[in-house]
Amino acid sequence: MFKSGIADISRSLAAGEFSSEEITKAYLARIKEKDKELNSFITLCEEQALAQAKTADANRAKGEVHLLTGVPIAHKDIFCTTGIRTSCGSRMLDNFIAPYNATVVENFNQAGVITLGKTNMDEFAMGSSNETSYYGAVHNPWNKELVPGGSSGGSAAAVAAHLCPGATATDTGGSIRQPAAFCGLTGLKPTYGRVSRWGMIAFASSLDQAGTLTRSAEDAALMLNVMAGHDPKDSTSINIATEDYTTNLNKPLQGLKIGIPVQHFAKGLNAEVETNIRYALSEFEKLGATLKEISLPNSHQSVSAYYVIAPAEASANLSRYDGVRYGYRCENPKDLEDLYKRTRSEGFGAEVKRRIMIGTYALSAGYYDAYYIKAQKIRRLIKNDFDAAFTDVDVIMGPTSPHTAFKIGAQTNDPVSMYLEDIYTIAVNLAGLPGISVPAGLVNNLPIGLQIIGKNFSESHLLNIAHQFQQATDWHTRTREI
């Protein structure tokens, strides 16, 4: 039962092989048994999940069903949930119970999807290893001494360990795709604005996008069908009609033009990862695609520009945590200034403070043009690179990460090396494009990910390409028993 994906569970529920209550109970029991070693959940929603499951079963009996009614999933603890704590991995929000649901959560609730719990994450989604969480590091199910990637490391570890068949996640610089690569999953980051950000705790608002971590592209399509759509409550959500993202899954890839950026195969890429990725690319040739070397000449600038733009936006977004309206407040403040400073210093962890300060510095008088405006100009250069590439090719492919998952603690003392983890993924966020990481091989028994980058709003095409690859290969079915 636990090897099932979302599509399988949906079919079994429809066929009456088991009820939503039965599978929900089974997953809850498995989480309680197995998650002690992984730490992938911050909050388990046992009572609410069982109530939701009973309602789902009753609705199914009446014939009132959505395709995913009764399917249990987990939500990254960045999405606000009424009546259930939303911590964002931070002491600052350890006591925060949102008075409303995020639109993403509301959409799943409306479809009758069950919330098993809220998954662990890097604090305020700032990290690439899930080690900055106030609730402790998450362990990779493939090898518990390794990180699962981040920031959506809890969602990735939970799906990889079969503690849930799918989970929501968010991606600001690679936070869905890199954990997908490290945990052997399919991770979809949609186009900026495709999924509402309302009720999704803000990190860097011009880059943040919600997406999915699943065991297959088909499951990602089923989840995106529920999540995607225009939301008047998010003024940056795009008012373009959604589609049924499963429609094109089975289209053949004959004639597909794949761009291979030389910069994503340059120095720094692990040789065995490269071999596996090249092999995966040859699979696409067998499926009728053609490969063409392309150049994204400014891609080496993306990490630098990102570490101005994202912290700048974060420093503004996180100024709301002041100990007055909600969240953590320090004890016995002697005056208002002391209230602000101690609340923020005690409530935020080291990485969050570091990024707030970088952002504050980049936006401060005298540095704004040299840093912030310069970074935004680089952002245009990067977008122009992609625009030029897409006149020639349909999609761009390369490795998601330069190597496999690394050891917990290996990079915690060196912020810059941690920032460079997202070297192949960050440019995609700067340009707003959709991207998906799919399992594409094993190196030393650890999964690696192939990143597929598409044009704006080409999710349906990306899912089609990923699904066809998964019909031809079995990397996405590989797991490690825990």
Binding site: F96, I97, P99, T191, Y192, S206, P232, S235, T236, I238, N239, Q301, S304, A305, Y307, V308, S315, D322, V324, R325, Y326, G327, R329, K334, D335, L336, E337, L339, K341, R342, R344, S345, R354, I356, M357, I358, T360, A362, S364, A370, Y371, I373, K374, A375, Q376, K377, I378, R379, R380, L381, K383, D414, P415, V416, Y419, N429, A431, G432, L433, N456
Partner: protein, 95 residues
């Protein structure tokens, strides 16, 4: 660029953060490394380019100026650290 503990103290104050001496020393060291990464941007020729603040360049939607939110004061203040009679309480600002 060299960053001193005083520079860090200045930035921390702007961000309303309070750091210990040890944290300031560590932050100064990390800051220099991060700024070295960021400063790689300066090598790019961007003279002819307009800054891009947003990947999807659309204007913000406008709507009628009508009340859409319901009054949820009690609900919202339930999660506040300190409230009284519908007001958020903070330490005394004026003597």
């Amino acid at each position: 660029m060299s960053i001193s503990a005083d520079d860090i103290a200045y930035i921390a104050n702007l961000a309303r953060l309070q750091l210990s001496e040890a944290e300031k020393q560590k932050a100064a060291h990390n800051f220099e490394n991060i700024l070295a990464l960021i400063d790689q941007m300066q090598s790019a020729d961007t003279d002819q380019l307009e800054p891009l603040s947003h990947a999807i360049e659309t204007s913000q939607p406008l709507r009628e100026d009508i009340v859409t939110e319901q009054n949820q004061r009690d609900e919202l203040q339930k999660i506040a650290p300190k409230c009284e009679k519908g007001l958020y309480l903070v330490p005394k600002v004026l003597e």
